[in-house]
Symmetry: C2
Amino acid sequence: MVQVKESLSKQYNQLFEIVPPAAIRAVDIKLSAVPDIIKLTLGEPDFAVPDVVKEAVKKAVDDNDSHYAPSQGTLALRQAISDYVHERLSGPVYDPESEISVTIGASEAIYDSLSALFNRGETILVPTPTFCFYQAEALRLGLKVVEINTAPSYLFTAEMFEKAIQEHPEAKGLVLNFPGNPTGVTYDEEELKELATAIKKTDVLVISDEIYAELTYGQTHKSITNYIPEQTILIGGLSKSHAMTGYRVGFIAGPKALMKMVGLAHSGVVTTAPGPMMAGALAALTVARDAPKEMRDIYQKRRDIVLAGLQEAGFTAPTPKGAFYIFAKIPDFLPQDDEAFVYELGEKAKVGTIPGSVFGTGGEGHIRISYATSTEKLEEAMKRVIAYAKAAKEATELSTAE
Amino acid sequence: MVQVKESLSKQYNQLFEIVPPAAIRAVDIKLSAVPDIIKLTLGEPDFAVPDVVKEAVKKAVDDNDSHYAPSQGTLALRQAISDYVHERLSGPVYDPESEISVTIGASEAIYDSLSALFNRGETILVPTPTFCFYQAEALRLGLKVVEINTAPSYLFTAEMFEKAIQEHPEAKGLVLNFPGNPTGVTYDEEELKELATAIKKTDVLVISDEIYAELTYGQTHKSITNYIPEQTILIGGLSKSHAMTGYRVGFIAGPKALMKMVGLAHSGVVTTAPGPMMAGALAALTVARDAPKEMRDIYQKRRDIVLAGLQEAGFTAPTPKGAFYIFAKIPDFLPQDDEAFVYELGEKAKVGTIPGSVFGTGGEGHIRISYATSTEKLEEAMKRVIAYAKAAKEATELSTAE
């Protein structure tokens, strides 16, 4: 343990003070202390990485792939990403040489885009509830964040965009995330086209985080880069589609003029991604390209189990069309303060969830349930939530009757 | 290929415009076009990663180490880093829970430290010639960089520090790098103690990049954190010591009050480092802790070969006490513009080097030679340089005689 020099204890970036620490992790750590709890807290696949991906990593290690890769990633992987975006996400054909960067997960992709493409003081629109990372990073970089409440549909529509632009004509950027965390909501083709058409009339730059693209139920994901590639930075990665969270491989694609700056940010921050992890990602996007399908079918079954359980317990939630979260309204007969409720549910039902308000305006009175855990655990968790809600309801009725 | 919307082509962080692109990589790419060239350009070990490290990575992959690690790195690795810094670098005992973060190479460690601990407009002292990354990242973050020319000794002394503080009393930070890139210069115990004593009298925060610590010749590396841990952020990593550049594992250690902010920067930028790469790093710092010794002995022999060759060719250079670079003054009878000279040497002698001026004030008229390549190649390269210099000298004498 080292003591800081007292005069230096506040020598840090003051912008870091205005951002609350990562709330999801904090809740998760706190709930982990409850004995026998089933945690439906984190957005992390419980599956193992596909075997061919693992073999590719091990082969790279054996082949002494331990030297610096090109700073934007190996060309083979960038080519595979280009093919993948075009063939699977309906995106344009990005030039692997100048329009794609491989990053340390989607996290770095988001950070690099915000740091390279926006100036301090510029305004960015963030439809909420959404993954709190966007707001946190934007604020740390000194940007102005305007949250736009999308409740109760959770779909950020063309109409909402037009209204936001009228109210904030100074807006330079917009963050999209679909399928969305924490709501699981995504666009159908018509809705997406309408939104893109509205954006096209403006000079707003879109940061489109489509990391959950492969986890779309009952329809095929289409990227917004299909419509407005000239003003979009696409964020993606392997963490969700191939259960590769811990391998930390994401990517950014966009027009060359902007990617030049994004690439500078990337090489400045991390130099390059680890070679063996990139070798694994290459296998994922080529030989294991269909691996997500199998996982998706399992996620969809889990989604239905959780949705049915929550409804039986009295919660209401839109049926998620993607990702692996359900964003549920706490029923009236239960505590409405979502943060207090999450700890009560943790203590009494032994089920861990995330309070909706950490996802921004529109999230209050809700909880996020991640169904990226085993079917068995989800079934048990739902039993517990139903029993807890039933007991709570009876207690309420009893006290009302008295 | 995607066309950017014209109105958005300049929608980027204007601070990125003032920083020249990574010069070392650019020179390396340009020289790569010369047929049959021997490149002594990049600072990258030619050795393979120790086998036990490779086995540890593969085991982690087999064991499905593919989920999110704790954001600051696995606790086992942080503990190993704590032990390593204390036992091998003479540093204090850092608390693995709150005073150490595992990063994507030393690059991210430097970036996180600068972004978390300094405010826009603050001044940072950078002794030069040095690794150009520090200035580039500081400028992109909006800091003011004051270069301090350390030529001809290249050792940033207590006296130089005191003079710099008199001239720039507003300075908030200082970057140290020892053993140094590109000069190979490092401190003996007395010199380091004197510098630390001078710094201690001020509130200057030191970012001490000691990534080359294990590559110190004829003496044992001692960290400045041995003297002033209360005002130092220590940067280190496995890239140079264990030839693990492509695995991208670095670390930051410092007092808890500051590391809290550095940790926020880290988790915001990359979430966490890849699990299998951290498993490899753990093996490197435990079972393979002595691997650097063998490499160091080889580097030292190579250093002597290159130094002798350069001297025979007419170059002068201080004998490097660490790292794997020689920073040599171009002899008078050769072109003195170091950038032009590097391309001439590349074309005519077929030996690739880096112009000294990319390392900042004091580097003009010099070249950096990296001896992190095979002994055989180094011997051949020196033959070429000697032959080239001899011919050039004869031509000069001839023309003077005319």
